[in-house]
């Protein structure tokens, strides 16, 4: 049972690499052939013939479905038309270079997108699942699913708007702390002190440790009785308190700094998830900031020092503006990733004893789809989430003018 099967797995990987290489070669070869022949007077006729043969082959010989065969069969002729009338032999090098990745991304993102849009206007849930599998037909429901998504909540159900607000809070809090703490750490690491390499290595650990493991370990620490967090809070409180017994004065407790029931109190749970995610995300921002700092030419600082600029002035007028182009793309990416972070929230809330009061949009989405099997509802939900994020990013990118190419506009 514990024996390791080495060879079959390795063989499959070799086969996989060959398969991918063959697919890429096929695709590039196909495009190249089109580039070489698009001028020929028989080009369209030949492509049509290939289309026909391919379609027939797929349907009759390989037994693919009629619709799929027609769709795939039409591909060569469509490509041929595009080559003949639109591309006309131009842009060969970039197209050949970009083709494999483009086709892969399109297949694995566009198809799901189309599928989810289809689902969101139909009714697929636990009750209709069996019939859908057997007959493949679904009721058309129009925008009913979207209306349901946007419904306000009740006493028993959290409203979409509340979850959205929480998600914004979550994204904002995380991003601010990631950037702020990451930048501060980077500034320290950028100094010439002994052992800076060791510090940097250790500080990268939260990034290096597999997330599943780190989150579950943290979760244990937030246990109210056996975790270190409450233990530590108690110690700090004891240090900063005066007197003993009934007459004890613990000023920190007045502002809410006291042991919490992290797993059951939704507010505390949300706070604990934020803490864990901040811990996980700092190293990335730290490394980005550090790389930005190290790429700033020293001559700027030399010149500024000669002009008698203070450290703060130098930071404000040299460091920050020069860091911005590095930081903004990473921050936008960081925002998107935080917004879409299912793993941490799911692992912290969905486990036994978890609470529902701390879900963000994507973790709620995951639960709706895979715990409650509300496929159509969650498809509509996903599209709404996607739209929110799209608008958010577009606004930010517009305001920071990130789309302008730094390299070659």
């Amino acid at each position: 049972m514990t024996g390791v099967s080495l060879l079959p797995a390795l063989l499959e990987i070799v086969r996989l690499l060959l398969l991918v290489a063959a697919a890429v070669a096929l695709l590039v070869g196909f495009l190249w052939a089109n580039y070489k022949t698009w001028r020929s007077e028989y080009y369209l006729a030949g492509a049509g013939l290939i289309s026909f043969v391919l379609g027939v082959e797929l349907h009759l010989v390989l037994g693919a479905g009629l619709n799929a065969s027609v769709a795939v069969g039409l591909l060569p002729i469509i490509v041929a038309l595009v080559f003949r009338f639109l591309i006309r032999g131009r842009w060969m090098v970039p197209f050949l270079f970009a083709a494999p990745a483009t086709v892969g991304v399109a297949l694995l993102f566009l198809y799901p997108l189309a599928f989810e849009i289809f689902l969101s206007f139909h009714r697929l849930n636990l009750e209709t699942l069996g019939d859908w599998i057997r007959q493949g037909s679904l009721d058309f429901t129009g925008i009913e699913n979207f209306i349901q998504v946007l419904q306000v909540g009740s006493q028993t159900k959290e409203s979409f708007w509340l979850v959205t607000a929480r998600t914004f809070a979550w994204t904002g809090i995380n991003l601010v702390f990631h950037v702020l703490l990451g930048l501060i750490l980077a500034l320290f690491l950028n100094q010439k002190v002994k052992g800076v390499g060791v510090y940097r290595t250790i500080l990268m650990l939260p990034w290096a440790i597999p997330q599943l493991i780190a989150v579950l370990a943290w979760r244990g620490e937030f246990h109210s009785a056996y975790g270190y967090v409450n233990h530590l809070i108690q110690i700090v409180n004891d240090v900063f308190s005066f007197g003993t017994g009934e007459g004890r004065l613990a000023p920190l407790e007045w502002v809410g700094f006291k042991p919490q029931e992290w797993w059951t109190d939704p507010h505390a749970l949300f706070a604990s998830i934020c803490i864990v995610n901040i811990w996980l995300g700092i190293p990335f921002m730290m490394m980005v900031s550090l790389s930005g700092l190290q790429s700033i030419s020293k001559s700027y600082y030399e010149a500024a020092s000669l002009d008698g600029a203070s450290a703060w002035q130098r930071f404000k007028h040299i460091t920050l503006p020069l860091l911005k182009p590095v930081m903004v793309p990473s921050m936008i990416l960081g925002m998107i990733w935080t917004f879409n972070n299912v793993n941490v929230v799911y692992l912290m809330t969905a486990q036994r004893g978890g609470s529902e009061g701390a879900d963000i949009l994507v973790s709620d989405l995951y639960k709706q789809a895979f715990v409650y099997n509300r496929y159509s509802f969650s498809a509509a939900y996903a599209i709404v989430i996607f739209a929110i994020l799209l608008v958010l990013t577009a606004v930010w990118m517009k305001s920071s003018r990130m789309t302008e190419d730094p390299g070659r506009g």
Binding site: M1, T2, A9, I13, L16, V20, W91, V93, P94, F97, P100, A101, T102, L108, F109, F115, E116, L189, Q191, K192, Y199, I202, L203, M204, L205, W207, A208, P210, L212, I213, L216, A217, G220, H223, G227, Y228, W279, P283, G292, L293, Q294, S295, I296, Y301, T319, P329, S330, F339, N340, V342, V362, F370, S378, A379, A382, I385, F386, L390, D405, P406
Partner: protein, 280 residues
């Protein structure tokens, strides 16, 4: 502020103190995992707060290697991760080259589309991807998983590499082209060697994504012989009787190679992560 400055003694002490505290926070959960892995029995939660439990033992380590297909999980993860990273880097580099060096219709919208894919909630892709892979007969195979992984990480990889390629002066490639080099030759012989740091970053990014991934793997893989370590470790949590000791021991063993990889590549990371925004 800058590295040029002479650091005063006082400031140096402050720096050390601050970094010390930060390191403690970074190390904290790690030390707890090690503690749990050393506990005999399967206790995640214990009122015992000491770093090394008084009854420490290596039982969990022995057990996970001898009684569980742990090595198989590790091997599977290794194969899947390495091939994902290889394919991901190759496809991303060629595409990024096109985006960085050539003008063609759809270039800008293509870049925006790549950015957009990052905004798709992951849960939304699971079911359709599973259905596609099943349709082409790749479900329950390493191949299906690797294809899914390497494609989902492509957009980010392309962005990073494109950003970096932008900072490499074009003149070098032009010189090579004049010397009779083909486009591919210029890309392969001139640009790629100059972009090692960013390639390392992309490799590492692909590596960590694939190495840690759980949801897609659990959807695509069925055969227990094919399972990756996150699936295996998650399984150890069992229904009610979680095998926490084994879980922690497995975690420690799994984290070690990744941490070593990070250590090794950290020198590349600094120069690779600039995303091409700054020309130093």
């Amino acid at each position: 502020m800058s590295s040029l400055e002479k650091v005063s003694r006082k400031q140096s002490i402050l720096t050390h103190a601050f970094l010390w505290v930060a390191c403690l926070v970074a190390l904290f959960p790690v030390s707890r995992i090690i503690t749990i892995s050393l506990r005999p029995g399967n206790r995640l939660l214990s009122s015992d707060m000491s770093l090394i439990p008084s009854d420490a033992s290596l039982d969990s380590y022995v057990k996970i290697i001898t009684e569980k297909p742990f090595l198989q999980w590790l091997y599977n993860s290794m194969l899947i991760t390495v091939s994902t990273s290889l394919i991901g880097v190759c496809l991303a580099a060629t595409a990024a080259y096109a985006f960085a060096r050539y003008k063609f219709p759809g270039r800008k919208s293509g870049l925006l589309f790549l950015m957009t894919t990052q905004m798709v909630p992951g849960a939304m892709l699971l079911l359709p991807i599973y259905l596609v892979l099943t349709k082409i007969g790749l479900n329950n195979t390493y191949t299906g998983l690797v294809v899914a992984y390497s494609v989902t990480t492509l957009p980010f990889s392309i962005w990073i590499l494109k950003g970096y390629f932008d900072t490499v002066p074009k003149s070098l490639e032009e010189a090579a082209r004049i010397d009779g080099c083909t486009e591919f030759g210029a890309f392969y012989r001139i640009l790629l060697p100059l972009s090692k740091p960013s390639l390392a970053i992309v490799f590492l990014f692909n590596f960590t994504q694939a190495w840690n991934e759980y949801l897609v793997a659990s959807t695509i893989l069925q055969d227990s012989r094919l399972r990756t370590w996150p699936l295996g470790l998650y399984e150890l949590q069992g229904n009610f009787n979680s095998e926490w000791g084994l879980f922690a021991a497995g975690s420690v063993l799994i984290s070690v190679p990744v941490i070593l990889l990070f250590l090794y590549s950290s020198k590349y990371m600094i120069s690779g992560l600039t995303l091409g925004g700054v020309k130093g």
